[in-house]
Amino acid sequence: MAVAKPKPDARQDSKVDPDLLRTMYRHMVRARVLDERMWVLNRQGRAPFVISCQGHEAAQVGMAMALRPGYDWLAPYYRDLAVTLVIGMTPRDHLLAVLARAADPNSGARQMPAHYGCRRLNIITGGSPVATQVLHAAGAALASKVRGEDAVALTSLGEGSTSEGDFHEGLNFAAVHRLPVICVVENNGYAISVPWEKQGAIKDVAQRAQGYGMPGVIVDGTDVVACYHAAVEAVARGRRGEGPTLIEAKVARLTPHSSDDDDRVYRSREEVADNKAHDCVARFRLELEESGVLAPGDAAEIRAEAMREVDRALEEAEASPLPSPESALLHVYAEDV
């Protein structure tokens, strides 16, 4: 159960098909472009609230691509924009939420943006209380197991949220019942303003796995391929009925906690600049261009394509109506129609 450090040769020994690499890059760029657009809308006063995946894209895309969309289950958290895009949600879906339109598939604009959910894609609706979803993932995995299916359930949360009792109860239950749960901790070092040192007296979140008897894997969350490999292994383990895995992805939060936060009071500009210098999207682009997976101009075209998609999505979202006031009364119970 020792914490598995990422193999230095991870990149070499992993023959990843160039098309797959390009797809990964496309997903990361798409998420980044969409996320950036949401901030623009916020600054323009057209979106009251934005919370960002910027800096987490590599981890999110790598993990999500190890899953079978619509078959495996997800209980993500508010930063997982890129996860939802990989699984099949669209920029339009999320811009509908950001603009609080009735057609928002996550919640019909009942929840704040970034509270993801989509029955069709087995993305379990999330609320705001952190860590509760870890138990929902365990329950979903239990149901699959009871039916004899080999679907896995991936849940994610921030490192700060591992301090909650539900994290403990969820991983413990999953371990005792050897459930196919993959718990991804996206460790960006902060819970709003509270640094990791004030959340746990351990160096790595992955160490928490040892209290539950499951592997605790640490990956460089800015390395999409490493994240992908870690998830593929955890998913395979789950499908084989060997139980859950905790994966800690070390990432950087490139923005303040949310559009309501000002991080200047609690972290230095140097730190923020340093994070930006290690931006996972830029890093992956460089790697792909060096290795020739991306030809000159490809990256620019991929970004332009994402821009066009987001532009279209925004137009559609803006043209879409707000919910009617009385609809606030619907769907408290199944019989309310």
């Binding site: 289950w73 209980a75 928002d104 598939p105 996550n106 919640s107 019909g108 009942r110 929840q111 509270h115 959910g117 989509c118 029955r119 379990i124 609706t125 609320g127 209380p129 509760t132 870890v134 138990l135 929902h136 993932a137 365990a138 329950g139 979903a140 995995a141 239990l142 149901a143 699959s144 197991k145 009871v146 039916r147 359930a153 009792g165 539900d166 109860e169 969820g170 413990n172 239950f173 005792v176 019942h177 619907l330 769907h331 408290v332 119970y333 199944a334």
Partner: protein
């Protein structure tokens, strides 16, 4: 018809539904080999195996949270909380999650889950094995709350709860488990959620109650009947939603109202019933709406003189009725 105890009816209800629908599972502390601390799940582990009757780790938020996830992924979990007193660690999963999932997903998801828990005092269980904590859940939109008072209803309401597409809290009075017996049909009947039942009719005083207290109310009503006062006894059964119509009808018919519960009164089910009557029956009332319940202390104390002082009993109900009758 077979005569069963209240707890037998609950056990039968679970067994029947598990035989009929393999999506139904039971999970909780000691529900497996031991069959539960009250034996409510006795025999289920043997018949359905440990895949469907699951001894969970000692963690209530975990039990309910896992049940929610399992319900979302197609099962029909019955989560047992060993004592209602110990539901508190699960309140976040019940109120923040289960109750809000349909609403927050705009009807994309639902949580067909039942949470069973024994409540109530008079069993020397002291502060943490005697509480009646239904009130806080009855405030919460998205939840349904049921409390049966007879073996017939225990089985019929449990069937409906298990088949309901939304989360139902099913609270069982632990003192009724073996004390209350009654006829239970063999057939696959159900009792509807959301409907009260008139247990005795009269037109002098309307008594609203639920759980074991219903039986105390009936006893007291008989005593008054000997002096010519006829009480209508309404068993609320469903505490959320309340059967507004049944409450208003009985209150208007009698003009005098007594609400009886075991729990303390402040911000409780009795408060809501009294408020409904005050709002909707104003012109029909011949006396102030009266509430009888436990004292405003944290819970039922252990020592017999203290427990006896705390508990509502038929004599206290009768006393309250006589005061109302004399008004």
């Amino acid at each position: 018809m077979a005569v069963k105890t209240y707890i037998e009816a609950i056990r039968d209800g679970m067994r029947d539904e598990m035989r009929k629908d393999e999506r139904v599972i039971v999970l909780g502390e000691d529900v497996g080999v031991k069959g539960g601390v009250f034996k409510a799940t006795e025999g289920l582990h043997k018949e359905f195996g440990e895949m469907r009757v699951i001894d969970t780790p000692l963690a209530e938020s975990g039990i309910v949270g896992v049940a929610i996830g399992a319900a979302i992924n197609g099962l029909r979990p019955i989560a047992e909380i060993q004592f209602q007193d110990f539901i508190m660690p699960a309140v976040d999963q019940i109120i923040s999650e289960a109750a809000k999932i349909r609403y927050r997903s705009n009807n994309d998801f639902g949580v067909p889950m039942v949470v069973r828990a024994p409540f109530g005092g008079g069993v020397h269980g002291a502060l943490y094995h005697s509480q009646s904590m239904e009130a806080m859940f009855c405030h919460i939109p998205g939840l349904k709350v049921v409390v049966p008072s007879t073996p017939h209803d225990a089985k019929g309401l449990l069937r409906s709860a298990i088949r309901d597409p939304d989360p139902v809290l099913y609270f069982e009075h632990k003192r009724a488990y073996r004390l209350i017996k009654g006829e239970v049909p063999e057939d696959e009947y159900t009792e509807p959620l959301g409907r009260a039942a008139v247990r005795r009719s009269g037109d002098d005083i309307a008594i609203f109650s639920y759980g074991l207290m219903v039986h105390f109310c009936l006893e007291a009503a008989e005593a008054l009947s000997r002096d010519g006062f006829e009480c209508e006894v309404v068993d609320l059964r469903s505490l959320r939603p309340l059967d507004r119509q049944a409450i208003v009808d009985a209150a208007k018919k009698c003009g005098k109202v007594l609400v009886v519960q075991e729990a303390n009164l402040a911000v409780s089910v009795a408060s809501e019933v009294a408020a409904i009557v005050a709002e909707e029956c104003f012109e029909y009332l011949d006396a102030p709406v009266r509430r009888l319940g436990g004292p405003e202390v944290p819970a039922v104390p252990f020592s017999p003189p203290l427990e006896e002082f705390y508990m509502v009993n038929p004599a206290k109900v009768e006393h309250a009725l006589r005061e109302l009758a004399a008004y």
